[in-house]
């Protein structure tokens, strides 16, 4: 399967958003440099699209065309003198001294265009269809490469999309597509690849793989994002600090609130990294948009309850094991094994809750995050996940959570989330955060309950995410 990698050149006038487009297509906000200025990109830089570790497509970001009117004049001059075909004229030009001098940028672009199987031409539709753009298209048409025209800034109030469409169709360019690099639009992206597939036969199969992979990638991102949030929620919900009211209660409370805040920040960081953003893209103060004062996360102080919930199950298991012994010894142990097994099983369960039982007797309380705060944390992280799923990597603004979205999510989540997470509260040792406070616990493994809980949470959060998108 060693097929040649297909090269795609991204060209356009200066400052139309070529690098932005590539940042979003490659999900990498460190690709190239962007600024609202001419000649920000002055070199050719590429990114390879891989499917299962195999390169399929190479996108090349090129310097913007700036002086196409003079360039076309220069090309026409060469053509007039040599009477060659246009492609040869352009080739000759690219190798000429002029191409390293006045038209260095343009020559770099043209060199890539000639070396590519396909060309994406980016248009800033806020501009009129000026002569310079017409000349650029004129030159590109003469390179005889299949062209796809991408409309950027289509949502701007002064977008002249119709004008552009009208002109392009008059010069026979019909493969147009709107593309906003500030967002990840799965549909637009799919359309782009579909158009590329349609233009070149050899792209048909590999791009089909790319499209499938993109869908998978999106689902994966969503799933992993939810998983990150669920980890965080379990960590927070299960986190319990034992404290007696008399002794340094306030200090414990502060410490726990801080720890929870840090944990939330870590969750946000993981989400950012997952989606290919840097931690600078999200300011810590924005994580708590509704808490102007340093009130921290509200906590609740609960009396200990829920004891012995699992002892039934433990006894049954013990008894079953004991029965095995009885059977083995030909019934000679007369059921003693079964009885002993049941006892051991029950005792095993009690041991896990025993500490809590003793603490209860001692009048020590459990300090934990309140249900409302849990819902708020979940809402914030979900809102962040939702934004990141759709945020283009060319967006220079920092990520901002909307208070409305968080409030909406809170109302959605508040019905079931506390109920589901109540189970987690029974197992303080599920929380790595809690282990910080309470010392290490021996039983750490993912139990069946934890798995079930995670499944429930996934379902709940998925529904919530669907409702806000």
């Amino acid at each position: 399967m060693s097929k040649a990698v297909i090269r795609v050149a991204v060209v356009g006038h200066t400052n139309t958003g070529k690098t932005s487009l590539l940042r979003t297509l490659t999900r990498d906000n460190s690709f190239g440099a962007i600024a609202d200025q001419a000649s920000t990109t002055r070199h050719v830089e590429g990114a390879r699209l891989m499917v299962r570790g195999r390169p399929v497509l190479e996108f090349y970001d090129t310097p913007g065309l700036e002086d196409s009117i003079s360039l076309l004049e220069a090309l026409e001059q060469i053509q007039h003198n040599s009477q060659q075909e246009w492609l040869e004229v352009i080739q000759e030009f690219v190798n000429s001294t002029q191409a390293h001098d006045t038209f260095a940028q343009e020559a770099k672009s043209l060199r890539q265009v000639i070396a590519s199987a396909l060309v994406l031409y980016v248009i800033d539709v806020r501009e009129q269809v000026l002569g310079k753009y017409r000349d650029e298209l004129d030159i590109l048409i003469r390179t005889a490469r299949p062209l796809i025209l991408l409309f950027n800034f289509i949502d701007s109030s002064d977008a002249k999309t119709e004008q552009w469409q009208d002109y392009l169709s008059r010069v026979g360019l019909h493969a147009t597509l709107s593309f906003n690099p500030l967002i990840i639009d799965a549909v637009a992206e799919r359309k782009l690849f579909e158009k590329m597939r349609a233009l070149r036969d050899e792209l048909y199969q590999p791009l089909g793989e790319v499209i499938a992979e993109l869908t998978r990638q999106r689902q994966r991102l969503r799933r992993v994002g939810l998983d990150i949030i669920i980890d965080f929620l379990l960590d927070s919900a299960a986190c319990t600090v034992m404290c007696s009211k008399a002794v340094d209660f306030a200090a414990q409370q502060r410490a726990l609130a801080e720890a929870l805040e840090q944990r939330e920040w870590r969750c946000a960081q993981e989400l950012l990294r997952l989606h290919g953003f840097r931690s600078e893209d999200f300011k810590p103060e924005q994580i708590l948009p509704d808490q102007t004062e340093t009130a921290g996360i509200p906590l609740s102080l609960n009396a200990i309850k829920h004891l012995g919930l699992r002892s039934g199950g433990g006894a049954a298991k013990g008894a079953a094991a004991g029965l095995g012994f009885d059977v083995m010894l030909a019934g000679l142990s007369l059921g003693v094994g079964t009885a002993v097994g049941a006892g051991l099983g029950a005792a095993y369960t009690i041991r896990n809750q025993g500490v809590r039982l003793i603490n209860k007797a001692r009048g020590i309380s459990e300090l934990r995050i309140s249900d409302n705060s849990l819902v708020l944390l979940a809402a914030r992280q979900l809102a962040l996940a939702q934004i990141l799923l759709n945020r283009g990597h060319a967006d220079p603004r920092p990520v901002k959570l909307s208070v409305e979205a968080i409030e909406h999510l809170q109302t959605i989540l508040t019905d079931h989330l506390p109920e589901i997470l109540a189970t987690a509260r029974l197992y303080p040792n599920w929380s790595a955060l809690g282990r910080q406070f309470n010392g290490n616990s021996k039983r750490l493994e993912a139990s069946k309950q934890q798995k079930e809980l995670k499944a429930q949470l996934t379902e709940q959060l998925n529904t919530a995410l669907d409702q806000i998108t």
Binding site: R48, G53, M328, G331, A446
Partner: protein, 693 residues
Amino acid sequence: MSISQRLLAEAVRYFERLSNQIIADETANQAARANGGEFEQRLINRAQALAVAEPIQAALQQWRSLTMACLALGLLLAMLAGITTARLALPATTEPLNFFWVLGSLLILPSTTLLLWLLLLLFQPRSSGQHSLGALGYSLVRRLLQRWHPDHTHLAAIQARTQLLNPAAGGHWALSGFSHALWLAYLTGSLIMAAFLLSVQQYQFIWQTTILSANTYTQLTELLAYLPALLGFTTPIADQISTGQGLAAASAWSSLLLGCIVAYGIVPRTILLLLCVVLRRRRLEQFHLDTEHPDYARLRAQLLPDIEKTGVIDPDEGIPEPEIRPPTRPAHQADRTGPIALLGLEIEQPHAGWPPLSHEDWLDLGLVVDRHSRRAALEQLSNTDPSQLLVVSSLALTPDRGLQNFLATLCQTTDAPTRLLLSQGQRLRDRNQAELIPQRLADWQKLAAAAGIDEQHVIAIDLDHLTAHSRTQLSQQLGLQATKPKRSPQACLDVAFELIIRHSQSWSGQPDTKAQSQLQQSIAQQFEHQPSNHLNLANLNKLKTHTSQALQDSAERWQQLLPLRLRTQPRWLAAGALAGACGCVAIAALTSPAAIATLPIWSALGSVLAAFKVNIDSESAPAQEIDLFEPVSAAALFALVLSLQGRDEHSITLILDQVLDEQTPQLPDTEAVRTWLATLQQRLNSVLAQEAA
């Protein structure tokens, strides 16, 4: 990829889960990427390259040894149990033993458990291993290891191994196989002990019955003997069964006993054990890492990136920085005579019109947008000798080298000093890019300098929203006498207010739409010599085709001009709508009277106003006595806005905010109208005086 490699990867995953963070080891990631392969292969390679791999491997090895030890112990115990059972079943006695009783003690248990297992396999194949002796042994190993090594590496190893007990990995076959092995040991122990006892002791085997016939027993024995006979064991013949006495018979009976243990105990268990081993092996071979598991998916970007950078392939060689040409000549405007050359560079016609200022002597080079218009402009410029050249371009455009080259050519073509005017700043603000303006201006200045234009000759004035102030500024820049209007806007307003008073005298009751329009038309005439108001111009084209829509738009637009606090007042809303709709007609009639005459304006106007009034009247109680507020305020508003025209809409609203009152007075007669208008004028004057200060 072997199972132990996969196990390691799983153990590493559990380890990371336990320590609550993914190990960030770039060398390991790199090693995984370098070796290539599918994602699973890369995960394994990474796991192997991690520092934690070694202790985890050791832990896995410990598990293995412990399992082996436990298995050996289990087998030993099982064998002992088998021996004990055989010893109990064949006591040292000279009494004849009941053959079927002995056989039963030896085989009933293993056979029953076998039968149970088979039933379980039939009905619940996936849980056939649970609650078996194998599961018991496994949990023993786990507990032991956990007690001895309560650290994360061992825990991770245990969890990874535990995963192999899932039915998906053939775990039930493994646990069942373990059970079969134990029972096999038990049976082997029984067999050996039985064989030993039968070798060293003399037993008499009999059978007894109370309700069954002897014949049944014979048949039963023969049936029982069928399999052992096949395996080569001697079995009692019919005669021996019925009488059951004698040495030969005892030998045959004992041979049958051993044969039964082999045929009904050992052989099936052995077969099942082998089967379980084979099935487990096959399942293990099919065991793959769940690469879609979130824990692994988090590693995907590092190990199997969807994107790989190629790096820079055609580097920037450094474009020679454009040399800064000194301005070709000092700007001795005073010495120069001739027209002002005006050129629009890649812009649309500004709202202020083209040329944007009224001045007698423009040399219009046109709006240059492409190669041909460039050539034409250059040719025209080279043939004339203007006093100065004004190039108008846009702040919304990105200054590029093409523009720079053209500007440079322009500067070289003429001796006249060149100025660059950048319009459309508002457009950037509309795009929420206001913060970009200083940078953009600096870029333009740099470009202008490179083209040979003096930095002070680059000015940013928005020709789409030309204010009195910016108009003066522009005139000064161009060295023009600020074009004094024949009458100042103030004087025009005076006349307009006089007109309102005069018209209101002739009204008896509410004037109709036509009368109101005529008033506004005559007000508009007062401002005729001033540049037409962009607020209404926009609607004129539409007016010809979509009359009522255009009027409605205009009405809404004027309502938008009102400050927010007045927009909540129904009477002011009515005034705004009236001013807008009538004003639109008035201005249209002014600019192209002939065209307007053919349009069904009046009926349309009536219906539009009616539509607005329905909305408004429902909120305010209809006034019973004569109140001229509505037509007067509409006309006053119209006159006010016309006197303020040229400013941008926002500042008009600001001024209106200070001039107009929320309280809407009753205006029953001309005197009240006069007083009210005087108040308005006073306030306006003070606001404008403040502004000037």
